[in-house]
Amino acid sequence: MKPAPAVVVRIPGLLRSYTGGVDTVRLAGLPSRATLDDALQELDRRYPGLRFRIVDEQAAVRPHIKLFVDGTLTRDLGAALPPAAELMLVGALSGG
């Protein structure tokens, strides 16, 4: 089977201590029907601990984290990732 095109993940500043300062990660080799959580699990395999900082133990996206798939906000970890999707992780504006 032809591998799916890589998913491009934009890493916010608040998570770059995990990626060694890298702001963009390309996830190649995900399943052809990959979900958002497949991408987060792969990120966590590469950068241990990253997923738990943005997704809690009940598989809920943490309150001040936003996930955009090709520009659309989603909190559903089961959402499908289109081929060559861009996943943007964002620390939401909050506080004063």
Binding site: G49, F52, R53, V55, E57, Q58, A60, H64, I65
Partner: protein, 399 residues
């Protein structure tokens, strides 16, 4: 995340009398050794290191700048391992560990977290306790909402203590996770009997004090005699709000607690707490967060009263901060405010933010919600500001 800055601090000494204060033991001039304080704040972790006289202090940090650090503790079993409970405004809770006194840090591979499917999520780890001396590597953590966790590998991986988190009475004891204190319901003051690693105590705000004699497999409430004026039954079995619970390491049957409704002492095997807050001046009251024990004298303790009237402003009564000390197990109290601001000081001291060192003449220290660290090298009689301009201080531990 290494220390990013270090500076000698010109400690404030306003109102600090020259020479030896009246009543100060001569031996206070010759303390045992230098003291290191871990200062956990809403914006990161700092350290304060004294010289051997505890007169001069050096501030270093921050570590984890921008992280909300609820507790930082040095392992007394090896003197060099540090554990830090941290989260940020956006990112979830984790534990950082250092085995070289903070020169380098590693994140826990599996931080405290409830079981998937339980419907509960850890908002933050609030409390850290090193385990028994005979169990190196064992640590306990208390979380918000209330959960108890244990690590057997020095804080690298954590598991829930099923005997507590899954106890059939837990919901009755704690209420729902929405029933907590304003900053979230907390499990804190995890205490290990130095004679027996299976004998544990913990406290919950709210929920009360609980005891286990089988290593955490089962728990029972231990609250008789403690008031709960916010409940319909003023003397219930559980549901209380202990703010800080302490066990004296050299007299492990002696327990004290600073509660939402007073100050109490319990001498086991007794089951009923004795109200020792009744001896506090009525104009000050017996409300506060921290309670600190003398390192060698089980009859000596310190509290930091706050205004618990009306809407609970959580400031010193009349804006005049003072430490109160008892040297007779709470039968009477003395006010100590020399060196502290005489008026118009509206900060307070949170439950983990007051500590004592282990010098022969004990040093006592507290951190304020306005980012100051104050210290006394004469068992609380006189005070000096050791650091200013830090963030809101959540915890202070002497190592």
């Amino acid at each position: 995340m290494a220390t990013r800055s270090s500076a000698n601090v010109k400690t404030g000494n306003r109102a600090s009398p020259p020479g030896r204060p009246k009543g100060e033991p001569r031996s206070a001039r010759h303390p045992d050794k230098a003291v290191s304080l871990l200062v956990a704040t809403r914006k990161g972790l700092w350290t304060l290191q004294s010289d051997s006289t505890r007169r001069s202090w050096k501030l270093a940090g921050p570590h984890f700048l921008g992280h909300i650090v609820h507790h930082a503790v040095r392992d007394p079993r090896d003197g060099r391992t540090l554990l830090v409970a941290a989260r940020t405004g956006h990112l979830g809770p984790t534990i950082f560990r250092s085995s070289n006194q903070g020169r380098s840090w590693q994140e826990a591979a599996r931080p405290p977290a409830f079981e998937p499917g339980s419907g509960r999520s850890v908002d933050h780890t609030f409390w850290l306790t090193p385990g028994h001396a005979a169990e190196p590597g064992v640590w306990y953590a208390g979380t918000s909402p209330q959960g108890l966790f244990r690590s057997a590998d020095g804080g690298a991986t954590w598991d829930g203590v099923a005997g507590f988190n899954g106890h059939p009475q837990r919901m009755a004891w704690c209420g729902g996770d929405q029933d907590g204190t304003p900053d979230g319901a907390k499990l804190h003051s995890v205490l290990v009997d130095p004679r027996d690693p299976r004998h544990l105590y913990l406290a919950m705000s709210s929920g009360g004090v609980f005891e286990s004699t089988d290593g955490g497999a089962d728990w029972r409430p231990l609250n008789r005699g403690v008031r709960a004026l916010f409940l319909p039954d003023p003397d219930p079995e559980f549901g209380h709000d202990p703010h800080c619970l302490r066990l004296h390491p050299q007299a492990p049957d002696r327990l004290y607690q600073q509660n939402h409704c007073g100050i109490y002492r319990l001498d086991r095997p007794a089951e009923r707490w004795v109200d020792i807050g009744a001896a506090m001046p009525k104009s000050v009251g017996a409300i506060g967060f921290p309670l600190v024990l003398h390192p060698t004298d089980p009859d000596t303790l310190w509290v930091f009263p706050m205004d618990g009237t009306d809407v609970w402003p959580r400031v010193p009564p009349r804006g005049r901060p003072a430490v109160y000390r008892s040297v007779n197990g709470g039968r009477s109290w003395q006010r100590h405010a020399t060196g502290l601001p005489a008026s118009q000081a509206w900060w307070t001291v949170k439950r983990q933010a007051m500590t004592a060192d282990r010098a022969k003449v004990a040093g006592v220290y507290f951190g304020t919600t306005s980012g100051e660290v104050w210290g006394s090298r004469d068992e609380g009689r006189t005070w000096k500001c050791l650091a200013r301009h830090l963030p809101h201080i959540y915890a202070l531990e002497a190592g």
